[in-house]
Subunit: 131 residues, 2 copies
DNA sequence: ATAAGGTTTCCAGTCACGGGAAGGTCAAGG
DNA sequence: CCTTGACCTTCCCGTGACTGGAAACCTTAT
């Protein structure tokens, strides 16, 4: 398989696949002409990476998860640890965004949104509505 | 006021304040020795920027909000438009994170997290638990 | 022979800063 | 007067995870 095929099948852009090779997440073979050639195992790894990334795992998390994936004597506790840390980050981010949302929607609600210059949003930002 | 005072009062790092000057968000004066000197109006702008940033507005949003803040003949509808767009982005991000959270917490729940190698998290990532 | 559509590498840019170096300035103390 | 230490300045590089684009090579079809 050439890069375009594997890009279509994995759902990742070719650029991203090249980048993943550059940082050592995958190691496709090379043809005599220099073209990358991807085995099924490379495609599986890329699909794995795409899913892990879509769950918000960092590249370094992905590297650790890939290593665990390939280590048949791993302990599932190690995987769970990585996943729980990511879950904590997600929950913290959600909480942060919900706080932003509350403040911002209060401001938005208070603003008439018409042609007049008076604006509670600007007043809030100027005087400390959020912190 | 020198940069350190205004950093303390605004809660922004001095580096950030210099950066904001570099990109034209503020224009502090200069002393003869080259030191920046901040007026109260600069401090107010920095506080405004800090709050806008803490609500997730991009730098370009902040630039637009500052312009509206200084334009006494603005229409509050323009401010509200910027804020609503940001609110949409926040809500979209929350929804995305909640989807991640659901998938990931399902995987985490299914994983024993002990010394054995069997791991539903890795299986899920390998076989398409998320998309 | 040429055109189209692959592929390669390399370089630069993104966003909003943060780290750190090299050097200038200022006030206090000896 | 000299030094110390705390400021301040500019400059450049690095971050994360790519994305865009240029220049050049390869393959296949016409």
């Amino acid at each position: 398989m050439n890069i375009k095929d594997v890009a279509e099948k994995s759902g990742l852009p070719a650029k991203t696949i090249r980048y993943y090779e550059e940082i050592g997440l995958i190691r496709p073979l090379r043809q005599a002409n220099g073209y990358r050639v991807f085995r099924d195992s490379d495609l599986h790894k890329l699909a794995f990476l795409g899913r892990a990334r879509s769950l918000g795992f960092s590249i370094e998390d992905c590297r650790a998860l890939m290593a665990l994936y390939e280590d048949k004597s791993r302990a599932s506790a190690d995987v769970k640890g990585v996943a729980l840390a990511q879950l904590d980050r997600i929950e913290a981010k959600i909480a942060e965004l919900q706080a932003m949302k509350r403040t911002l929607s209060d401001l938005v609600t208070a603003c008439a949104g018409d042609g007049r210059p008076e604006c509670p949003i600007l007043v809030g930002l100027a005087e400390g509505a959020c912190c």
